[in-house]
Symmetry: C2
Subunit: 211 residues, 2 copies
DNA sequence: ACGAATTAGACGTTTTGCGTCTAACTAGAA
DNA sequence: TTCTAGTTAGACGCAAAACGTCTAATTCGT
């Protein structure tokens, strides 16, 4: 019951329905305090809603978390498509795509130091959403590489890897940029740019890399 | 038992004893998450100590809180005395004293948005420590005003208030500077400077205020 | 007046946290 | 070695909190 389907969002106080409203409140709290330290009561209060209302729309705390991830995924997808729609050299577009995807996700959670816990929770209760989240990037990155290759701007073969592997490697590099001392949001975005320029150079047709 | 007295601090891993070590860990967590959201387990982990060790030195969570406040009070007192030891015009010294007292306390807790809860906890379980905390400022401010008045630099009577009342008013103004939208640490320090210049002008002997 | 959405609040259950306690471990001093 | 003080992991009972469910009352747009 109350399957959190695309039911209504009938009225909406200021344009957004209850579900978005609650998911956004949950995002703020999860980012700041982590999953365990955030109670349903906290979420209800932050969303300005009765606790019972949460259970009208969600099955439980894990369901709220999944909805929050899905909402974040939608936002990330929008930004990624905007980034891809912008013309420019391949290296720039790759950097923009990475910033839109990994950077948006990172900055959403950078209000606290709970990336580790949140990642663990994602894996354990939101595997599907996490996969969808990554699929967004894989799909759009493939479009970017394929398009640039078709126009002769880059040569994927030059990297010595298949496109699948190349993209998977990018994602692992972006994930790795969070390890060790947790970087600030700006530092993380800078590291993403550095990764992007390396990968762009690896497939550049002329071998010359413009900064 | 384990009266948290000035027992030993016998060895000390890097100069600070267990009690300071734990109190500082507690300060970090209380500032970031608030009192209720911080468990004894969290404090033990943050301090790198077993949970049982907490109860060797403190009676309970409230006792840890009080010790943390006392430690903060000691730090504030040090900074206040340093500020008072520095020569300069009265207005500057008052501003420095206020920054040392209220600013230090504020910045210690500015890592989160839990000033309200922490203040309430202070009142309910640490009234004595809170009073001592304020007494530090009252005492030193009195020294500052009396000294400047004795040297003819200021005229307390000019303000139309007794010194006690004047100082109490300063403290209320400093407290009020936190109300409404919680300011950033820099903004709060700026507001303190503004308050200091007003009060300095109120007792200035020549009536001219230098910025 | 009707119905859909929301609300406060109570409920039983599960989980978490508190404070206590014990037995074992470590390290320095005698 | 032995003694002692400090620490530790872990278990315990109890209290508080959080979870998820439910109901009766309320709001609000139509």
């Amino acid at each position: 019951m109350s399957d959190r389907s695309e039911s209504s969002i009938t009225s909406g106080e200021d344009g957004k329905g209850r579900i978005e409203q609650i998911a956004e409140a949950a995002l703020r709290l999860f980012a700041r305090y982590g999953y365990k330290r955030t109670s349903m009561d906290d979420i209800a209060r932050e969303a300005g809603v009765a606790r019972a209302t949460l259970y009208l729309h969600f099955k439980g705390k894990d369901d709220v978390f999944r909805a929050m991830l899905a909402g974040l995924g939608a936002q990330v997808e929008t930004r990624c498509r905007e980034a891809l729609a912008t013309p420019g050299p391949f290296a720039e577009r790759l950097a923009a795509l990475m910033a839109a995807h990994h950077g948006t996700a990172f900055s959403a959670f950078s209000a606290g130091e709970h990336l580790g816990e949140l990642k663990a929770v994602m894996i354990s209760i939101a595997g599907a959403e996490l996969a969808a989240f990554e699929a967004i990037f894989i799909d759009l990155a493939r479009q970017l590489f394929d398009g640039a290759a078709a126009q002769g701007e880059i040569s994927i073969e030059r990297s010595g890897l298949r496109l699948d592997t190349l993209i998977a490697t990018i994602m692992r590099a972006a994930a790795g940029a969070k390890y060790g001392e947790l970087p600030s949001c700006e530092d993380y975005l800078l590291r993403l740019r550095e990764i992007a320029s390396v990968f762009a150079a690896a497939v550049s047709r002329d071998g010359a890399l413009r900064a």
